[in-house]
Subunit: 248 residues, 2 copies
DNA sequence: TCTGGCTGGATACAACGTACACAGCGACGT
DNA sequence: ACGTCGCTGTGTACGTTGTATCCAGCCAGA
């Protein structure tokens, strides 16, 4: 590329003519301009949120991590709301969608389990006040509808079924994450430590005598820490109910 | 300031004796001390959140509304986290719990519907990163367990069933609220206005051709705006599934 | 009558989101 | 070839937020 080299040489010459030698060599080399893109912004923001929680994602911190001035991000994103939208869509983009050929029930199940895994990997997602209208969220919905296609359901019912499963998954995993976050904040690493940490709060509440059934649960239950089992039981109920009520 | 240091150690009466009559009667009467309590704090904070959204609940605004200095609230609450906990528990306290005598399915259904109504009345609740360990949240769980008692389920299963319904309700209503919030933020008052507002975003996405099933839904569905129907269908599925799988 | 402990007030500060004006650079019409 | 325009990133600044810290008044008990 002779033309490009020529142009560069010329602009350099022009600068040389205007700025004194000593000023030039004193002046720190202009840092290479970091190029920004929505994708890179999203990736870096997600990395911060994954590593240190969503509260660590500030516009300034993000800019630092991007190697850029605090306000630079605003060229690609109108504000923090859009940033969150970008982050959510970015994560949904990593979700592997199931093959509808395996049958609606198995496909729905893997969809649910993968969504759960995704949310557990990025716990800050469950706070998403983001509507499901980003491209990759829509792709998930599309996949859910495709899975339910050809079973004789009308579109209203297909969407209702998909939303039912999605609602269960989100609600269930959100509860799961809330507990995990509490444990992490307090430094408890398993169910026993957690119960020990909550003991004083709990005995105080139990001693009011207002929660006999819960007290029995606390004493008798043996699967309190089996989160997979709990999620699975509920999911089975939901899928059974769909199969029964829709006749599929 | 020697005068100030001198006055600091003296009782009210001593001060009265030293301060001139004119200074005393000119000086504005000390405002009557507002009495604070956790309950009043929660009630006022909830009122603000209901009226203007959770973001309007700042410590300063709350203090103003309570007729108190900004830092006064901190005597009753360790920080904003505990304030939110207080608010959430306050709202759960207004939830009417069902009579278990009507049978588990009806009781579960009214529990679900009343929880939905409560969340829709206080949309900021769905962002609760609060664990279900406050007295009134525990009372709801207790009620759910009581409803399922005596049906031959072990405690693990009872809790799993209750949590399944709760997860569905929270997930479903959260989605509902996210849409309602978008509509309110944009000033759209019904489904048609909303679709009109989203049209450009949507046609852009649909024209990618990546969402054929969703496009069909958008064209064919007739119950897109029937939120009660959507919630009810899903709830029926969940309850059916529980009945079938648990044999109750 | 004194004193200690609550409760509310006042001041202060760091961190946040973001508005605004500016500067460099590539592309394009002339 | 050259001026100009539009992007994109920079620098500065402002108002708001949560909350740490210290003070002052009041009530209970000695």
């Amino acid at each position: 590329m002779p033309a490009e080299e020529e142009r560069r040489g010329k602009s350099a010459k022009q600068e040389k003519a205007q700025v004194s030698l000593w000023e030039r060599i004193e002046r720190p080399a202009p840092p290479p301009r970091a190029t920004l893109s929505a994708h890179r912004i999203a990736a870096v923001a997600v990395a911060i949120a994954d590593a240190e929680g969503i509260d660590a994602v500030t516009m300034r911190r993000l800019a630092t991590e991007l190697g850029v001035a605090p306000m630079a991000t605003y060229r690609h994103v109108s504000g923090k709301g859009e940033l969150l939208e970008l982050m959510v869509d970015f994560v949904y983009g990593e979700l592997a969608l199931p093959d509808p050929a395996v049958g609606w029930r198995d496909a729905m199940r893997t969809l649910a389990e993968r969504t759960r895994a995704m949310l557990l990997d990025h716990p800050w997602m469950s706070r998403g006040d983001v509507l499901a209208l980003t491209p990759n969220q829509l792709a998930l919905t599309e996949s859910g509808l495709a899975v339910l296609d050809g079973l004789g359901l009308d579109t209203d019912t297909m969407m209702a079924v998909f939303r039912t499963v999605a609602a269960y998954v989100h609600g269930s995993v959100t509860a799961e994450i809330n507990l995990l976050r509490l444990m992490q904040d307090q430094g408890w690493s398993n169910g026993d430590e957690t119960r020990a940490g909550l003991a004083s709060r709990m005995t105080w509440l139990m001693d009011t005598g207002r929660y006999p059934a819960y007290r029995r649960y606390a004493g008798e239950a043996t699967r309190k820490d089996d989160r997979e089992w709990q999620f699975g039981v509920g999911l089975d109920c939901v899928l059974d109910g769909i199969a029964a009520r829709m006749g599929i």
